[in-house]
Symmetry: C2
């Protein structure tokens, strides 16, 4: 039996009130605050029903009701009306982001902004290597058998690696190799470079094959290993605003999880399939974050996605506001990157 209109209204009201007050909501208060056309007793019946279906629960017998993860899910999918940002908020976002001087700065400003606007923990992934393309490769001789490889991408990111060579090289050779690898690789998407790198090794003058292999190996390593590694985090202090109910009392496991880069990447990195993703409580893969909700999305210049960003907070968060903040920030950052 599906939920009728009024039951859905009741669920929506419960979610909204609970998010606002952080206290279990009872039937009487509900009819008053929302000017319902029915009596408290009727609402109680609906509540009993919603509880049977697993959308709400009672913390204790004879307390008010609290939404369950399932209830929030239904709310997010069907019931929430998107709150557009106020013009003041839009202006705040713009003001915060313009004036960034480089990539680092963009990312830092973004993550702080997001934390401030949503009042939650914010995570921003640096533009991922694999989705951007190579703008320039530089080789610098550090000694006769060591080179420094510097890779510059079109998202402004710079990666460096030291290469140990099997034989000595002089400057003219280095410069020849530099020219070759730039010719072959500049403009290529990082994800498609491995093939081209292989081609380089195959085609090279046999006298240089050892050296070129060394360089190719390091290049590949750089592409694979360091991909997507960096992240910025802000707003952890917001966790302390939580009530005792929110994270079953301890924010410790959450702080711990937030220090694991791998975990964070899982949270926001895999964005890309859906435009915007909301994971509520249980739905999180990560054990320690089962008491939190995560709202994440991808961002990038134009339609391409080069990284993820998102926020993490108590399951009892203001979803409509959070969702619109996250997507607005992602949109603005995308625009910034497109300009640069």
């Amino acid at each position: 039996m599906p939920l009728d209109e009024r039951k859905l209204d009741v669920l929506r009201a419960i979610v909204e009130d609970y998010v606002a007050t952080q206290e279990p909501v009872g039937s009487r208060a509900l009819v008053e605050r929302h000017h319902m056309r029915v009596s408290a007793a009727t609402v109680r019946n609906d509540m009993a029903f919603l509880e049977d279906e697993g959308y709400i629960r009672q913390p204790h017998t004879s307390a008010g009701r609290v939404p369950t993860d399932r209830g929030y899910r239904l709310f997010v999918d069907k019931l929430s009306r998107i709150k557009p940002l106020s013009p003041a908020e839009r202006r705040a976002i713009e003001r915060f982001l313009i004036g960034a001087v480089d990539l680092d700065d963009v990312v830092h400003r973004t993550v702080r902004l997001l934390a401030q606007v949503t009042g939650q923990v914010a995570v921003v992934q640096y533009p991922s290597l694999s989705r951007s393309s190579i703008r320039h490769l530089e080789l610098v001789g550090v000694s006769t058998t060591r080179l420094l490889l510097v890779m510059i991408t079109d998202t402004g990111r710079v990666e460096q690696r030291v290469i140990e060579l099997p034989e000595t090289v002089d400057d003219t050779e280095v410069s020849a190799i530099r020219t070759v690898i730039n010719e072959k690789l500049v403009g290529k998407r990082l994800s498609e470079t491995p093939i081209h790198i292989q081609a380089l090794v195959d085609e090279v003058d046999p006298t240089r094959i050892g050296m070129m292999s060394a360089i190719a190996a390091v290049l590949l390593e750089t592409l694979i290993e360091r991909t997507d590694e960096r992240l910025a985090l802000a707003g952890t202090a917001n966790l302390t605003r939580a009530g005792v109910l929110d994270f079953h009392g301890s924010i410790r496991p959450i702080l711990e999880a937030l220090e694991e880069e791998v975990v964070l990447l899982k949270l926001i990195g895999s964005a890309g399939e859906e435009p915007l993703r909301v994971r509520i409580g249980d739905e999180n893969e990560i054990e320690h974050l089962r008491a939190t909700s995560v709202v994440s999305t991808g961002y990038g210049p134009g339609a391409t996605i080069v990284g993820g960003l998102g926020v993490l907070g108590p399951t009892r968060m203001d979803y409509p506001a959070t969702i619109s903040a996250v997507s607005a920030v992602a949109r603005y950052v995308g625009e910034m990157l497109a300009q640069a």
Copy 2:
């Protein structure tokens, strides 16, 4: 009137017990645990004296005593015997640090290690630009009027900046300039480069003066603005182990302070004058950290100091252990940098 030997013993015992148990320590427990040769009543007299002098205090009438900031200070200065690290700990440190692939990795490993070993919040400053020297400067033409400047230092750090040129250049010119600036600047301490950069502009062929000024301006900017900017942080979850007494109940202001880079730099960046610095409670300049203690030191290859690192925790921390951990880690990191 100076403190006699026994009163100092009593103070030491109080600090040690309080650190271990986190509970106010009374006279009876003290004589038992420390096999003192005097009675509890005598200890009580000494305690009364120590309290008058401001070294300890009672949380409530008729509770045990707790050290004050002043008490900890005396303990650190005069009473603590340094705990050398166990061989197991040394090995753990080494194992943790070897195998780092680049500077980022070194810093990350270090900060995690420090957090783990001390059980507190750890902060590591990236090797500061101003104290290292230039290994190589690279100029890359991105378009006819834009160059990318990449600066590589001997601590392995890479900084990049885009330069907008007032006129167009071709590749041969770029490469000529590259040669010149490398000749003049490689090997120089960053702190002494500004003069040399000025010299570059003065000596350059008049036809190129506009371009060279643009490059010089960006170089100077890079040196000044970005100096000392980056930091790594770990172990914030350790704050939650604190008892209610520790941070007068709320870790929020501390988490907030820890997100301000400026604050962190103040904490550990100014290391350098003293070999190792301990700031206890009140002694901290930063308002929000008056309830914490900070142990910090400088590190670097050999005797030079290129950055700071340290930990932050409750005033009730195990100072001897923390101090030796911090200095051991600093020493090891210094060695790692010297090798690279």
